[in-house]
């Protein structure tokens, strides 16, 4: 039968300063960890959604992103021979040449701060190649018209992107496109974009090329042969699975997450030391109490469990507090500047059950590791010495 929880709780409260500081350290570690994991989960969700198993992104050989890729018309022609390309109801190949440019758009939170929002010029076939794109408000643009539609995430983060608003696009930022619709794309990176008719956009930006070609295959099994062809000698372009392309865009994020994880690891070690310090102080202050418990029949393992439970309770409460603070950011829309495209992706911080489990596991581990040595010292208390020093 364990000691009452009130014993553990009141002992923690009895040393408010050291318990409070340890609480703070663990809560900060959990907060940073949960935000980092939420960030990674949000980014991952955004990329996962843009991970069609039948889509290929074709860029210029050597280009790492659409914004740095130039594909001339004569280079597109051989792509029509790609094996396994799907067709739409009218028999047209699901092959979409697309232009990627950027437009400075003020943020909703601070109108004076503009961000480079990705703008994609597409033909109508693009809606067949990217079937996840669905108009949810208004209508789609009409080819040849200076109209645009905006992704849900882009509208949420940036100002002046409501239906009926006008946005200045073009090389001189002097062509006004009217927003006529809002689209969703299963939360993918496409939702961070503005779409407009490719021919109008090409003219506005005085471009004579496409940035990328997107192919949709009839089945995932057609992928190897299609990639072999696209990357082969007859095309001279570079094709990637859609998921692989966005993963590459996200490489920096993964590096940041990796480095931050190391930092959090170091912070966790520090937190374990803070816990150990607090528990050592608790053991030293309660030597007589420990000796009394041992005298009346509590075994060494019971003494160990007293301090283990105390430590884990402290770190678990701190974990809950850290997660509560992080939860205020949960669902918050963030944006991320890609170092490859120099455009901004919008995504949401995602707090998942796995993240909660990881945070509690880390906090508990910190609590257990921090308490091992002090609890061991408590269990080794020499009863008669401790009673005599009373």
């Amino acid at each position: 039968m364990p000691l009452p929880l009130s014993y553990t709780w009141r002992n923690l409260l009895a040393r408010r300063l050291s318990s409070g500081l340890t609480f703070l350290v663990v809560a900060v570690v959990v907060f940073v960890l949960s935000v980092l994991l939420s960030f990674a989960a949000g980014m991952q969700a955004s990329l996962k959604a843009a991970n069609s198993p039948v889509n290929i992104v074709v860029l210029k050989a050597g280009a790492s992103a659409e914004s740095t890729s130039i594909i001339w018309d004569d280079e597109v022609t051989p792509l029509a021979q790609t094996p396994g390309v799907a067709t739409n109801e009218s028999g047209g190949q699901l092959l979409s040449r697309e232009l990627s440019v950027q437009a400075p758009v003020p943020r909703r939170t601070d109108l004076s701060r503009k961000a480079n929002v990705p703008v994609r010029g597409v033909d109508d076939i693009a809606f067949g190649v990217h079937p996840e794109v669905r108009i949810t408000e208004g209508r789609s643009f009409v080819q040849g018209q200076m109209e645009a539609i905006v992704g849900r995430a882009a509208r949420g983060r940036f100002a002046n992107l409501e239906i009926g608003d006008q946005i200045a696009l073009g090389r001189q930022v002097n062509r006004l496109f009217r927003i006529v619709g809002v689209f969703e794309a299963n939360g993918s990176a496409l939702e961070s974009e503005i779409w407009a008719p490719r021919t109008v956009l090409t003219d506005s930006y005085r471009r004579t090329f496409a940035s990328s070609v997107h192919l949709r295959l009839s089945a995932p099994s057609a992928m190897p042969a299609a990639l072999d062809y696209v990357n082969g000698p007859s095309v001279q372009l570079r094709g990637k699975r859609e998921g692989e392309y966005y993963e590459d865009l996200n490489k920096k994020t993964r590096e940041i997450v990796y480095l931050a994880s190391i930092l959090i690891g170091i912070m966790s070690v520090g937190a374990a030391f803070a816990v150990a310090n607090t528990m050592y102080a608790a053991v030293d202050a309660r030597r007589r109490e420990i000796a009394m418990l041992r005298t009346i029949g509590f075994a060494r393992r019971s003494v160990i469990s007293i301090f283990m439970i105390e430590s884990v309770l402290l770190t678990a409460i701190a974990c809950a507090a850290g997660l509560t603070c992080a939860a205020y950011l949960g669902g918050m829309k963030q944006d991320y500047l890609s170092d490859k495209t120099w455009t901004v992706f919008a995504f949401e911080l995602k707090m998942t059950p796995q993240i909660l489990a990881i945070c509690f596991a880390v906090a508990t581990t910190v609590g257990v590791i921090g308490a091992v040595a002090p609890a061991g010292r408590a269990a080794r208390t020499r009863i008669l010495d401790a009673l005599r020093k009373a």
Binding site: R10, L13, E289, A291, I296, G297, F298, A299, A390
Partner: protein, 238 residues
């Protein structure tokens, strides 16, 4: 539990301090009948606390045997002694050693947590123990809300709540004023006479010794005098 006899035979206890060997008990022979109230006196370093620790299973003799009832303590491992103490001995300390963050009832309940027992049964036993020591109305008070005498009563309740064979008390009145000391000693006397608890008490106070039935004088680890009181101070109901 029924009162049990205590029997020490040729008990030696030697402490090692650096290269020095300090003999605290030197071939002690002693028998205490079940239900007795033995008071141990003697100058500092005479071995009285060591004797108490040996009988209470807190320490083991260097040689000789210590038997309490059927238990041969000198043959037990530390783990066995720990389990034995929880069932057979109640401890009362000079400084009470109550857990400051627990209420009187929770302090008394502590030894019962080592038993397989329902919470209702524990509660009943705690109430009975606190009633015996006259503190049933202070069950929810913390130690810092009690006087020294009341704290010692709670400690006594904690010592008797498991219904042990033996109660060992180390200077139980050493930190109390004369009036409160008398009350505590009367309570111990009551536990001995009414509840047949064997009590072994160490004290420096000759007045406290008057409450015991038997007075043992130790000096330099040897039993110097063994007197039986024909008319110990009679207990007064609490």
């Amino acid at each position: 539990m029924s009162a049990v006899d205590i029997d020490l035979r040729l008990v030696r206890k030697v402490y090692h301090k650096g290269r020095m060997n300090i003999t605290v008990l030197d071939g002690l022979d002693l028998s205490i009948e079940g239900g007795d109230f033995a008071v141990i006196m003697g100058p500092s370093g005479s071995g009285k606390s060591t004797l108490l620790h040996l009988v209470g299973g807190l320490d083991s003799p260097t040689s000789g045997s210590v038997r309490v009832g059927d238990a041969h303590l000198e043959r037990m491992s530390e783990r066995e002694l720990t389990a034995w103490r929880s069932r057979h001995v109640g401890f009362i300390f000079q400084m009470y050693h109550l857990v400051p963050v627990l209420t009187a009832a929770q302090n008394v309940e502590l030894p019962l947590l080592l038993f397989r027992m329902s919470s209702a049964e524990r509660r009943k036993r705690v109430e009975t123990a606190l009633e015996i020591v006259g503190l049933k109305d202070r069950m929810d008070h913390r130690p810092n809300q009690l006087s020294g005498g009341q704290e010692q009563r709670v400690a006594i309740a904690r010592a008797i709540v498991t219904d042990p064979d033996v109660i060992v008390a180390d200077e139980p009145t050493g930190d109390l004023d004369a009036k409160t000391s008398t009350e505590i000693l009367q309570l111990l006397s009551l536990l001995n006479s009414e509840f047949r608890k064997s009590i072994i008490m160490v004290t420096h106070d000759p007045r406290a010794a008057g409450f015991g039935k038997r007075l043992l004088h130790l000096d330099k680890g040897v039993l110097e005098r063994d007197e039986r009181h024909t008319h110990p101070v009679q207990p007064v109901a609490v």
